[in-house]
């Protein structure tokens, strides 16, 4: 019964979001007030229905209702409760349901936090979001219904993929989707602005906190995913340029460009068309990414053949979203007034350069990701594009971005004197050169890449510190100032971590017997033994390793216990790596396979500064949080609230 209620709620949500998508938009266009006011209640009702639907699926998982096909495929009666909850979005259908649920959560947030915004604008924004919701709900209901029954019911479920039985899975997809879907709000604001023809500073100011919020979630989601791959998958890396990873990284790159472009549009009124295009692009890539990953198109072009409806639906939806927004753009953009002009060397031109480079970086990732698909579709053979391609393209494109990033906050709007910037940047420049020359030597060898990486990160960090110190002399700066510098510091920390790991990590696959020792990265690893340990739904072989820093006393001894698990419900073993994390390094042991006697194949890693990679991402996200919390956005609310009580009351009167 519960699954049917969930299904019904989903169908009702579709009807409501169609109303939400059509009437308010037309109402705004033709000045029909009674249609405009429908926007907010429709969004809220649609949210409640989807919440109910989501809860119904979660309940089916909780009570182990294996008559629901999706539950039977992704859960098992032995699965711990936490993972049963995580399993709700462990497969294609459930994760799409999570996607629309997040979308409707964002819509409801817009409906509550837009009290001061012009009513017709709100109606258009919520309307566009409603149309997107409706498109996705149609997709779910026609091709990926999670509530399909299995008759007769399965006795037990197939269990959740052991890879996904990890706390990381419980948080990673919702974070990532919050980010993906959040760009829908920026997209809706852009489309609403195009519809109204009012692409002005107010539009940019309203769009900014929403875009930043989405960007924060996406940053955290990607970082969590990377961290999860690092400690759970046991591959020992933090980024693999896997198509699935690229799918989340592309919207991030465009989203980052959008954040900065919106800043220029708000402050100077320039880049309007560019900003709109970025907003459309970021959301389209989010959509493309979700579907490519979730439909299995990326890992296998043949997924089109297994369920052609899914693939075709995806294409239609993508073409509709991208096509209609670009047509709208082409139609409306010529009417957009040009913003303030600027000189060849100015803050605007520097921001534009950074923006273009981010888009180029994104395009190169897109090319590398889709190239194998295109070649295969053209029947030219099957190929794969390896990580070296991405590194070879990405590093040179991003280097000038990182170089500019430190200096842009010093540049003046409209027109700036390059000598003035140079005068202020000589200290960071000298520090960067010094650090770039010396630190790699201290770490064990200078290469162009490590020198460049260290120099860039010191360049960004030191110029940030100097700028903050100078600014503090003239009183407390606003939150957004702190946000910008925290975000940029995050980039510096991230670049430093990436450089160190890339340049100085050590990895060894060795055969070890109890009593054997191996030295990797200045740490001695001694294998004590491997014993069998039972788990709730698996049995494990657990190794014991003693790690000591070479040259340090016995006080530095650490125990590491990696596991090799065999889950009862599957024949597939799982490697659980053991990691001793530290501020300047991680040491990492994972069990390969048992060899003859008591010997095991063991993988041992030394990863200098690897945690700085995720630390940097956290700092970026924190920077975003500061920017969102800037008083500027809240002050507007207060002052506007005192002006508009009359409209508010009339609206309340009309609301059913």
């Amino acid at each position: 019964m519960t699954p049917e209620l969930g299904h019904l709620a989903l169908i009702l949500a579709l009807c409501v979001s169609l109303v939400q998508g059509v009437l308010p938009v037309f109402g705004a266009q033709y000045g029909r007030r009674e249609w405009i006011v429908l926007a907010r209640p429709a969004a809220q009702v649609s949210f409640l229905l989807m919440l109910g639907s989501f809860a119904a699926l979660a309940w089916s998982f909780y009570v182990n209702d294996f008559s629901v096909q999706y539950v039977a495929e992704h859960s098992n009666s032995q699965l711990p409760t936490l993972y049963r909850f995580g399993a709700v979005w462990g497969g294609h259908e459930g994760s799409l349901l999570l996607w629309v649920f997040m979308l409707s959560s964002w819509t409801v947030a817009v409906s509550y936090f837009s009290r001061t915004l012009d009513e017709t604008m709100v109606a258009r924004v919520i309307g566009v979001l409603g149309l997107v919701t409706a498109g996705l709900l149609l997709f779910i209901l026609f091709t990926s219904n999670p509530f399909n029954r299995l008759l007769p019911a399965a006795e037990n479920g197939r269990d959740l993929n052991p890879l996904l039985q990890d706390p990381g899975l419980v948080f990673h997809p919702p974070m990532l989707y919050m980010g993906y879907v959040g760009f829908a709000v920026a997209f809706a604001f852009a489309i609403a602005a195009l519809l109204s023809g009012r692409l002005d500073a107010a539009w940019a100011r309203w769009s900014r906190p929403w875009t930043t919020a989405a960007w924060i979630f996406l940053t955290l989601g990607i970082a969590l995913g990377s961290w999860w791959a690092y400690y759970e998958l046991g591959w020992g890396g933090w980024w693999f340029w896997d198509p699935v990873e690229n799918a989340s990284f592309m919207p991030w790159l465009l989203g980052t460009a959008l954040l900065h472009s919106l800043a220029v549009t708000e402050k100077r009124g320039s880049f309007k068309s560019w900003t709109v295009l970025l907003a459309i692009g970021a959301f389209s890539l989010s959509l493309l990414g979700t579907f490519l990953v979730r439909s299995g198109v990326l890992t296998s072009v043949h997924a089109f053949a297994t369920d052609p409806r899914r693939g075709i639906f995806i294409l239609i939806l993508l073409v509709l979203v991208v096509g209609s927004s670009l047509v709208l753009f082409a139609w409306r953009a010529p009417k957009v007034a040009l913003g303030g002009s600027f000189a060849l060397i100015s803050r605007e031109s520097m921001m534009l350069t950074g923006n273009v480079l981010l888009v180029v970086a994104c395009a190169s990732v897109l090319l590398g990701t889709l190239y194998p698909l295109i070649i295969d579709a053209l029947k030219l053979g099957k190929i794969s594009v390896g990580p070296p391609y991405f590194n070879a393209v990405f590093v040179p494109v991003m280097t000038p971005v990182l170089f500019l990033l430190a200096a842009v906050p010093l540049a003046r709007w409209k027109n700036t004197d390059i000598r003035e910037i140079a005068l202020r940047m000589w200290i960071p420049g000298a520090l960067a050169l010094l650090a770039g020359a010396l630190i790699p030597y201290a770490m064990g060898g200078w290469t162009v890449l490590t020198g460049l990486g260290v120099a860039l990160s010191v360049w960004i960090a030191s110029s940030g510190v100097i700028q903050v110190a100078r600014r503090l002399k003239s009183g407390m700066p606003p939150a957004s100032f702190w946000g910008m510098h925290l975000g940029h510091l995050g980039i510096a920390v991230f670049v430093f971590g990436v450089t160190m790991v890339g340049g100085y990590q050590e990895e060894q696959d060795v055969r070890m017997e109890p009593g054997d020792t191996v030295v990797v990265g200045g740490h001695q690893f001694k294998m004590l033994g491997v014993k069998d340990v039972p788990g709730p739904n698996y049995s494990a072989a657990r190794g014991a390793f003693e790690v000591t820093k070479v040259g340090a006393g016995t006080g530095s001894v650490r125990m590491l216990e990696p596991e090799k698990r065999n889950y009862f419900s599957s024949t597939m073993p799982m490697t659980e790596a053991a990691i001793d994390a530290g501020f300047t390094r991680d040491v990492y042991v994972s069990l390969g396979e048992p060899l003859e006697g008591k010997a095991w194949a063991v993988r041992v890693y030394f990863k200098p500064f690897v945690d700085w990679i995720w630390g940097g991402c956290l700092l970026m996200a924190l920077g975003g949080l500061f920017a969102v919390c800037d008083k500027r956005y809240r002050l507007r609310v207060k002052s506007a609230a005192t002006v508009a009580p009359a409209t508010a009351t009339t609206l309340n009167g009309v609301t059913p």
Binding site: V301, A343, T353, V356, K382, D509, V510, S590
Partner: protein, 145 residues
């Protein structure tokens, strides 16, 4: 005049940037593409001679042999067998009788794998492995008739 110059500079700069990026991209793409070939194609000498490539197929039952950290096995499409050696730890899902994709250096005889891929769940067959099996089946049928 000044405005014209500025625009020209912006457009010129943009073109130069796009050009450099395109050159980088094409160069990188060219040297980092790995072609997928089936065991039958390798046997027929159709594998690239001076570039790494990938072979997809099944790990032949009973072919897995360990020599300390080096593993020897055979990748097959049920028509032709290609021997492969790999030194290091295999992914969890690597198993006899299951699909796998290996990236190997060009050569002959026993190929040396630089990467062994079997990342997906147990019921999943890498599309390249499946493709190799299908092709081999098809040509086998054609030869008989």
């Amino acid at each position: 005049m000044k405005r014209w110059k500025k625009r020209a500079a912006i457009i010129g700069g943009g073109l130069v940037a796009v050009g450099i990026a395109a050159a980088l991209v094409l160069n990188a793409l060219n040297s980092n593409i790995a072609l997928y070939v089936t065991p039958s194609e390798v046997f027929a000498g159709k594998a690239p001679k001076n570039q790494s490539f990938r072979i997809g197929g099944l790990v032949k039952e009973g072919s897995l042999r360990r020599d300390n950290l080096t593993v020897h096995f055979v990748i097959t499409d049920m028509v032709q067998d290609i021997p492969v050696a790999y030194t290091g730890i295999l992914p969890d899902l690597f198993k006899e009788g299951k699909g796998a994709v290996v990236q190997v250096k060009p050569g002959s005889g026993e190929y040396v794998a630089t990467e062994v891929l079997a990342k997906h769940d147990e019921n999943y067959m890498p599309p390249e492995a499946k493709d190799a099996l299908d092709k081999a089946q098809k040509s086998k049928g054609e030869n008989k008739s």
